[in-house]
């Protein structure tokens, strides 16, 4: 159990800067997810925390100890790898024991620790098998067990679920969450899957091009993204970005949408900074679930609703909801509707939009206003 501080960490390969100064402070027992597309530097950062890569500048602290120049084995961390990286020549029990054995833990203690972990992960019946005789999910459990058995201060997970099939992935996700609740150990978890990030994290660091774009709780990242990149990365389907101009309409600050028809969406409780921008171009960010067919039950306050009309181009039923694709504000827009609210493509629909959840972005800086 420990805090983790990542202070101004930079990584350079020659002139190429992979990490451009990362600052993250984690409290004891937090679950940090490093989220981003491939090549954003999240795995590099994890390897630097693990000590498998040297940092070019900055400092990593675990607890109150500076571990920047400490060998991986002495950092008191454990890592679960994407490919599991189980030792193929050893059976499960010896895989679990290897780290303890290398540290000179005596046999009786080792066996006790293995038995404890095996019971916790329900892999007792697998102890004498070789990794090749295990299924993907079982290998994953053993890999987690190998990390658990040493009782490290910080767990590092490198995309641990990406080799599993969809169903198993959801199961293991829940297991990891349960495990975290139970152990309360600090965890750093790398993934490119925003749903994994949302469900697991106590805080998410969204990365792009070697920089942290936003470091906040999942709900805050989802509802108050700092910029269009974060807004577009979180959520599936992604946030819609409608283009328009900020105007005064009937005494209320509104967004006049670009595109064929003249439609005005009055803003809900706009900030002072926004009201300075009347007459300027603006981007209105709306999540698919902020749309509903007008006249149906709405959770939002009636005052916060704004109505627009659009013609539905494509309809995709997913079972629980139906996705409607249309052109709105000069952009392709997706609305998540209740099944049955939309008949089929070509239908002209009146939508009620929950403006209390809308985000406004500056079109040039792409930052939220």
């Amino acid at each position: 159990m420990a805090t983790l501080s990542i202070r101004n960490v930079k990584k350079r390969y020659g002139a190429l800067e992979i990490l451009k100064g990362i600052d993250i402070e984690l409290a004891d027992g937090e679950f940090l997810v490093l989220l981003g597309p491939s090549g954003c530097g999240k795995s590099t950062l994890l390897n630097i925390i693990a000590g498998l890569l040297d940092l070019s500048e900055g400092e990593i602290r675990i607890g109150d100890r500076d571990v920047s120049n400490v060998h991986p084995k002495d950092r008191d961390i454990a890592m679960v790898f994407q490919s599991y990286a189980l030792y193929p020549n050893m059976n499960v029990a010896r895989n679990l024991a290897f780290g303890l054995e290398m540290r000179g833990v005596e046999k009786a203690k080792r066996e006790k620790a293995i038995a404890h972990v095996a019971q916790m992960l329900q892999i007792e019946h697998l102890l004498s098998r070789k990794p090749a005789q295990l299924s993907g999910g079982q290998r994953q459990r053993v890999a987690i067990g190998r990390a658990l058995v040493r009782e490290p201060k910080v767990f590092l997970f490198d995309e641990p679920l990406s080799n599993l099939d969809a169903k198993l992935r959801v199961e293991m996700r829940t297991e990891i969450k349960k495990l975290h609740h139970r152990l309360g150990t600090t965890i750093v978890y790398v993934t490119h899957d925003q749903i994994e990030a949302m469900t697991l994290a106590s805080r998410i660091a969204i990365m792009q091009n070697g920089e942290v774009q936003q470091f906040a709780s999942p709900q805050e990242v989802y509802e108050q993204p700092v910029n269009m990149y974060v807004a577009g990365f979180m959520g599936s389907p992604a946030m819609n970005f409608l283009r328009g101009t900020l105007t005064q309409q009937n005494g209320r600050l509104s967004v006049a949408l670009n595109g064929g028809r003249a439609q005005h969406l009055p803003l809900w409780q706009p900030s002072g900074a926004v009201s300075q921008r009347v007459g300027q171009d603006i981007i209105l960010g709306l999540r698919p679930e902020n749309f509903a067919v007008a006249g149906r039950a709405q959770s939002a306050a009636p005052m916060a609703l704004a109505e627009v009309t659009a013609q539905v181009d494509v309809v995709e039923p997913t079972g629980a909801d139906t996705l409607a694709f249309m052109e709105l504000g000069g952009a392709n827009t997706i609305a998540r509707l209740r099944p049955g609210d939309v008949k089929g493509p070509g239908e002209e629909l009146r939508f009620a939009i929950d403006m209390s959840r809308a985000c406004l972005f500056d079109p040039t800086t792409e930052r939220r206003l």
């Binding site: 498998l52 990286a85 189980l86 290398m102």
Partner: protein, 296 residues
């Protein structure tokens, strides 16, 4: 349904014919390749009398192991040619076994270091080692003789071991390097975090998973070193010569009657160890060569 059955019948008829054709051709080729061996074995089991009668192609009328015995202990009838193979067979074992083991062990260590420890210049080192595979034996004879002389190892078994280790290192390194490239780095990272150092990772993790490539390398090196003639002929003298050189001396001795049965027996004695190695480890050899080709 009926149509399908007719078709099935017809195609199985063709299949049988195809099988006969395939096996026929294979048998023909097998016979073609086995014929020399047959002559060698048959000749080596005949007495000189029988050979003089000119029955070169027939089976021996009565089997005798005299020629084998003669090849092993005596060699060239009365002439001092150093042709008795027994001693030279032991010589060959004496330098082949250490040279094979040392070059394989060093190759494994090299391959591991080149792929899993990213030291600066690793690619240049590997490139230079690879270059060694393409240097013809003949071109290093003089520098090697000079080096061995300076080291005081000229005409010794140790010198020959050193020569074969140095020359074999390029190949063994190449084999192991190409095998270890397919082993995920994460395995080594996991071992590092688990607290295993350079050598314990190598010994506890890498070596146990290298069995296929170890077998390939052992067979390759054994065949190369056992069958080598040039280094043996150049760097050893007299009683220290390997079996390949001794065989050459025995066969080329032109005194007296040409003793074909002894020649044949001697040739087979010289070839036996490599044959035995192939038979014993052959299936691992094929497995090793195709290792990594199939997921598993």
């Amino acid at each position: 349904m009926a149509e399908a059955m007719v078709l099935a019948g017809r195609s199985s008829g063709t299949a049988v014919f195809g099988r006969i054709l395939v096996y026929g051709i294979l048998l023909l080729f097998a016979a073609y390749f086995l014929l020399p061996l047959f002559f060698m074995v048959a000749t080596s089991l005949k007495s000189l009398e029988e050979l003089r009668q000119g029955t070169f192609l027939s089976l021996p009328s009565h089997v005798t192991f005299w020629a084998w015995w003669e090849a092993w202990v005596d060699g060239c009838e009365g002439v001092q040619c150093g042709g008795a193979l027994g001693g030279h067979f032991i010589n060959s074992l004496e330098f082949t076994i250490p040279a094979v083991l040392i070059s394989t062990a060093l190759g494994a260590l090299n391959g591991y270091a080149l792929t899993k420890v990213r030291f600066p210049g690793a690619n240049i080192v590997f490139g230079m080692l690879l270059f060694g595979c393409f240097i013809p034996f003949q071109s290093i004879l003089l520098p090697m003789a000079f080096t061995l002389g300076k080291l005081g190892l000229a005409s010794t078994i140790t010198g020959l071991i050193l020569t074969h280790v140095v020359y074999g290192l390029c190949f063994t390194t190449l084999f192991f390097r190409n095998f270890y490239v397919t082993v995920p780095d994460e395995l080594v990272h996991a071992a590092t975090i688990d607290g295993a150092g350079f050598f314990s990772t190598f010994w506890r993790i890498m070596v146990p998973i290298s069995l296929p490539i170890i077998t390939v390398t052992l067979i390759w090196q054994f065949t190369q070193i056992w069958n080598d003639f040039l280094f043996g002929a150049s760097f050893t003298r007299g009683n220290a010569q390997p079996i390949t050189v001794a065989l050459n001396n025995l066969v080329n001795t032109s005194e007296g009657v040409k003793r074909y049965n002894v020649d044949m027996a001697a040739a087979m004695i010289a070839a036996a160890p490599t044959l035995i190695v192939y038979v014993l480890a052959g299936k691992y050899f094929i497995r090793g060569l195709t290792a990594g080709a199939v997921k598993g």
